[in-house]
């Protein structure tokens, strides 16, 4: 049987972002910043926007593909895919879905995007205004388990319990993001460094999460443009290839409330082997990692499940020095990510992975020909992505 794979078949020709803002501070509408990001990605690639024939997004993005196609004057819309699931679980799957559409001959030029101006639509962290609740949330909300930090803290606590993880490991993740944000003028937390004392003295949101363990809420949009590998060299920038992608979760990961058998996990247990198999590389080949931080604890699980660190080594491995570019053992979230660049549900992490492979990051890793992105720890479906340079193929 023919072996099906995305490896080397699809390239990322362009990347783009809107300006990134603090929550509620975008002067422009969510739809407008989506257009800004898409046009910036077209410009980066040197592709006329009318050549776009597909859109892929995730997390129930409100900016409808047909409206985008109409607004951009696209001649022919051929592919419009939405990955199920909330948060950043779909940030890599959306890339995979767009790439699959190209590989299957369903489209030629797909934009993968996420636009999120939460200030215009309400906060994730607030639940006021609901009188009755049913389904999964009914087992949680009456007990004060309402917002995402409260919904994920018990998973992380269990993981810490099982592996003897100390708070300092999570602190190192937060500090690495803030460290990288200081070199990134796009980052919302640019000019706002974080040190150990500031982290330790910050308020608890919910134990074991300090304020700095939790992602920001922002206004921002990001986009990438996918084309087939035959066209990869036609564009302005160094081509970056999809090496592999995976999405989903393991056995009964969706058993709510909090009944997933593999509870203390990020849900990459089944995905990581599929990803590395498709990409034809090993965990030790990965030079730089963008790992979605809804909460820092999820990053610990993610790196363990991708074979990048052993669970029993977490406390020794997760230090600031090991996690920062250019020469840490494993440069992590090199743009600042959800904690310190902009919370675009991980689309900003995909864009940063492209920059790393190109060699144009504001915190460039020494070894960056293979870059890992992991989206949505602890949610289902989760997804992940490996990108690589032409030399890797």
């Amino acid at each position: 049987m023919k072996s099906n794979t995305l490896r080397g078949q699809v390239a990322i020709a362009g990347i783009g972002e809107s300006n990134y803002y603090r929550h509620g501070k975008s002067p422009d509408s969510e739809f407008k910043i989506a257009l800004q990001a898409i046009l910036a990605a077209c410009d980066d690639a040197g592709i006329p926007p009318a050549q776009i024939d597909g859109f892929a997004s995730f997390s129930d993005d409100r900016n409808d593909a047909s409206r985008l196609a109409a607004a951009l004057g696209i001649r022919q819309l051929r592919s419009a895919t939405m990955q199920w699931g909330g948060g950043g679980g779909g940030c890599c799957a959306a890339v995979a879905n767009g790439a699959a559409a190209i590989l299957a001959g369903m489209a030629e030029c797909v934009v993968v995007f996420r636009s999120l101006a939460q200030g215009q639509f309400g906060r994730f962290g607030r639940t006021t205004g609901i009188n009755t609740i049913s389904g999964e949330k009914a087992y949680l909300m009456p007990y004060g388990v309402l917002a995402p930090p409260q919904r994920f803290a018990m998973r992380v606590r269990r993981f810490m319990h099982e592996h003897g993880v100390r708070q300092e490991a999570m602190r190192a993740i937060a500090m690495a993001s803030y460290h990288h944000a200081q070199a990134n003028p796009r980052a919302v937390m640019h000019g706002k460094p974080l040190d150990e004392q500031r982290y330790d003295q910050s308020r608890w949101v919910v134990e074991p999460f300090h304020l700095y363990d939790c992602c920001m809420e922002n206004d921002g949009a990001a986009a990438i443009i996918l084309v087939s590998q035959e066209r990869a060299r036609d564009f302005k920038s160094k081509p970056v290839y999809v090496l592999g992608a995976a999405a989903g979760s393991g056995f009964r990961a969706g058993a709510d409330p909090h009944n997933s058998p593999d509870y203390a996990s990020a849900n990459f247990g089944t995905l990581a082997p599929n990803l590395f198999r498709m990409a034809g590389v090993q965990p030790q080949d990965v030079g730089v990692v963008q790992s979605y931080e809804n909460f820092t604890g999820g990053v610990l699980m993610t790196l363990v499940e991708h074979g990048l660190v052993e669970a029993q080594d977490i406390n020794q491995f997760f230090t600031l020095d090991n996690l920062i570019a250019p020469s840490g053992k494993l440069p992590l979230n090199t743009s600042g990510g959800n904690l310190a660049e902009c919370y675009v549900h991980g689309m900003e992490l995909v864009v940063e992975a492209v920059r790393q492979v190109r060699g144009t990051s504001s915190s460039q890793a020494d070894k960056s020909d293979i870059a890992l992105v992991a989206g949505g720890p602890m949610v289902t479906p989760a997804s992940n992505l490996l990108l690589g340079s032409e030399d890797v193929l």
Binding site: T127, T132, S134, P142, G144, P149, A153, P208, D256, H258
Partner: protein, 151 residues
């Protein structure tokens, strides 16, 4: 049946109700009667929670609801400080626990750990369920809370 004398959290949080299709109705009506009911497939004896129309193991529809003793072990926990709802403003920290029910296939339920919100929470400790009846709510309901088993 142990019954709470007051409410652990302030009034005003969302009221739990069954879905329009009635999937969880036996659970919520059971709590109102002071009974913890969990789905237990009569065909293959698989325990299942939250409820579903199908047994995930043998694919028989409509797994039966079985009353189980409200006791378990703390599987995980969190102490919440940030108020994510107006009803919790100025309330201060509170503890949510994830309780495993070893006598019901190790399914887990979420509740609050009654007592001092700053008390030590011990994963693996035995806890017993306390029925917290909200009879004065617009639509009466009952929560299942937890406290350490008395030595």
């Amino acid at each position: 049946m142990k019954v709470a004398n007051n409410y652990y959290l302030p009034a005003g949080l969302p009221t739990p109700v069954s879905e329009p299709d009635g999937l969880s109705e036996p659970f919520w009506s059971g709590l109102k009667m002071g009974r913890l009911r969990i789905q237990h497939c009569s065909h293959c004896h698989t325990w299942q929670f939250g409820p579903e129309w199908l047994c995930h193991h043998c694919h028989r529809f409509d797994p039966e609801w079985e009353e189980v003793e409200p006791k378990g072990k703390i599987y995980s926990w969190e102490r919440v400080w940030h108020p994510s709802h107006d009803a919790l403003k100025d309330h201060g920290p509170y503890i949510a626990v994830l309780v495993e029910l070893p006598h019901a296939g190790n399914v887990r339920v979420v509740g609050n750990l009654l007592g001092d919100p700053m008390q030590e929470v011990i994963i693996g400790a035995d806890v017993v369920g306390i029925f917290e009846h909200h009879v004065d709510a617009e639509s009466a309901y009952t929560l299942l809370q937890w406290q350490y088993e008395a030595d």
